[in-house]
Point group: C2
Chain length 419, copies 2
């Protein structure tokens, strides 16, 4: 038989609407300020190898059974660690059996959306938020309403107006999705006072809170307010992750909720369990090294943020204002109102600079056009510095701004490049 063409003859039989095939991966740009990547230099390689050997020697035989023979909530050692970690901000309400390990918080987002959202439903999401949160709700046919934010997170007054308006029209949103601790992309931490008011509104209007805490272990201030789940377990579905604080190629997240919800998420989690080696090795590592690791991570991230902040100040002067994040791996840059960062996104990419344009991280594609998210964990300090200079050069060429300072530097950069 001759070697057949690698195509498929029956695409006419796909269920409608079928997605388009994904583009083949073409590598990353030189100045990669997008994606939740982390710092390659901060992967604790030796400690992970030691953890692997240790946990395999102790419990390796259990790999022979689905879910390590311990049920589909996930590896008990990991759930116990997560419960202990969360209880510090949840007043001890949790046990390991309240936790479902998910394949990243992505899977948690998928499952919770599928459990709550039918086509035509309304969901409330912070006006700027994780692109995946918008996309996953939208793909299920949800109508999204953006909740206005300020420098302290959700504007409770505006949320109350929205809930009141919807209620007057007979609409009960399926959830209020929030990233209260190091909000993505604005980097804010919601105060305890606002958390308490948010919970009151949730109760008053009968709308659950969907709390995403995937950056919470990377906060600069080590004593952030209690989680919303800890304050009101019966009103909240909580998800979290170690993707950002350890490594995103590991797919280890978790969901926390009463069994009426958690047991249903478990029913819907049809993947035969989350990868056991990821779970076991991460649990073994974190149980021994969590505090040290997070201190190293946040120290390194703060230094990179300083480099980014200085580069932005130097290259953009007063043209750009950084919303200084209270933790995490990204900064939210505010340009003058009349600038639409999308106008120079393609040129920036051609010059090797990738950034997230505000509208992609917004509830509406016509919202946030003068904002940009820059992720700073992956590039080293020198690359951050060069990348911001390159970004300013492209921005100036397209928009005529920044006019002060950066212009001269831009020419210097061009000069260096010609050598």
């Amino acid at each position: 038989m001759e070697r057949a063409e690698n195509s498929f003859a029956y695409c006419n039989l796909l269920a409608a609407p079928a997605p388009q095939p994904e583009e083949r991966f073409a590598g990353y740009p030189r100045y990669n300020f997008v994606g939740g990547h982390n710092d390659p230099a901060r992967i604790p390689i030796e400690q992970l190898a030691t953890a692997a050997t240790s946990v395999l020697n102790r419990e390796g035989q259990s790999l022979a059974m689905y879910n390590l023979g311990r049920g589909s909530l996930g590896y008990p050692g990991l759930r116990e660690f997560v419960a202990k970690k969360l209880n510090k901000r949840m007043q001890g309400v949790l046990s390991a059996d309240d936790i479902l390990i998910t394949s990243g918080s992505s899977q948690g987002l998928d499952l919770v959306n599928r459990l709550f959202v039918s086509p035509g439903d309304t969901v409330l999401i912070e006006e700027f938020s994780y692109q995946g949160a918008f996309n996953k709700a939208r793909s299920l046919g949800a109508k999204i309403v953006g909740i206005p934010l300020d420098r302290e997170g959700i504007r409770i007054d505006r949320l109350e107006e929205i809930l009141r308006d919807l209620s007057a029209r007979g609409v009960t949103p399926k959830y209020i999705y929030t990233i209260p601790t190091v909000q993505n992309p604005t980097g804010t931490v919601l105060s305890l006072e606002r958390r308490v008011r948010l919970i009151e509104l949730s109760k008053q209007f009968g709308v659950p809170i969907f709390e995403d805490e995937c950056y919470t272990d990377l906060v600069w201030n080590l004593n952030p307010p209690p989680t919303l789940y800890g304050l009101a377990p019966s009103q909240v579905v909580h998800i979290g992750s170690f993707s950002k604080s350890l490594a995103p190629a590991l797919r280890i997240g978790y969901a926390v909720a009463g069994w009426e919800i958690l047991g249903r998420l478990l029913s819907m989690k049809s993947d035969g369990g989350t990868g056991a080696l990821d779970q076991m090795i991460v649990a073994e590592f974190l149980t021994k090294h969590f505090d040290d690791h997070m201190a190293t991570m946040t120290g390194s991230l703060q230094r990179k943020l300083e480099v980014l902040t200085e580069a932005v100040a130097r290259e953009f002067g007063t043209t750009v204002e950084i919303w200084h994040p209270e933790g995490g791996i990204f900064a939210w840059l505010q340009f003058p109102d009349h600038i639409d960062v999308r106008t120079f996104a393609a040129e920036a990419l051609a010059a090797g600079v990738a950034f997230n344009a505000g509208p992609d991280w917004s509830w509406s594609t016509e919202h946030g056009q003068n904002f940009m998210r820059l992720c700073f964990a992956l590039p080293d300090e020198h690359t951050i510095d060069e990348g911001v200079a390159e970004l300013a050069r492209v921005c100036f060429e397209r928009t005529g701004m920044p006019v002060h300072g950066s212009n001269q530097r831009r020419q210097q950069t061009a000069g260096r490049k010609q050598k």
Copy 2:
């Protein structure tokens, strides 16, 4: 704030139809003949630990990036290994870029079903097959038609009739799902001749083949026929797994198809990638030890199958016929036509014996009631022996069969239990 009750206040907001919460895990029975578990004694613990250290030292830094910075098809080292392994039975048609790593073949099954099946569609599945294959298709609203099997796999003549009948009614099934090599649960291997005829029918009626090869590395005869994908790439979507041949707690499967399909499966795989440590360690281990490991596994499985066969012969005499499997981890037991194995399933479980009743592994709940699947990889040889004796005792008490031999032994077993 006082400690809140761990319940959820807003279950009224769930999307309809919401699944029921899963039951809490309550442990496994003593004689556990269900589930695709493997032999704890055959987990290559030391080699996995060595593999972990080696691959982490070499490539650990890449964990800092989503998908190890190499795109979402999966870890290149694993895809290269899978391509090399598959090419032995695919005439060299594959490259690593034709392979998508999935979180177990479960995820492959989910994705392929979602890509093809809309409510009301018809799919063809072997009359006895993996329960998950039926359930996943059914949950999407598919009508399932069972393809009759004999001791050599799919009955091609009957398949042709079914396709002709459906065609006459204007129905094009979305796929023909088959496990051609060590069929689950019958244990047969489809001959090359039948494979060729199956492909001809697929082409004639315009119905793609959905080939599941998750037991193929555990076949007794080391030279099984070529895969259907290898024979006709444009007509087949192929999935496979290392769950059965290495460890089911690892979630490492793969899908193979032309890019029109593979690129769409990739678009739908919304989990941020399959766990990287599982992928990296499995690749490192298999690249070095695949042949030796599979030889050890199949040797051990064949010994356990002998113990099971002898125990069944001793305890059930001529009452039960085993369809001797050509590989894998389960045997298909055929009881006399008038016996419905479901009538003693609950009593067996109460006595610590779990088995899969035929109707649960069948396209219709009223089909296969005189069959039973016994998985033999997990229990040790002594446990297999005791479990079969216990099963015969319960069967006799309920059905009056087996009357020869086992009756006396059953009483002896009961006597031992009273000591």
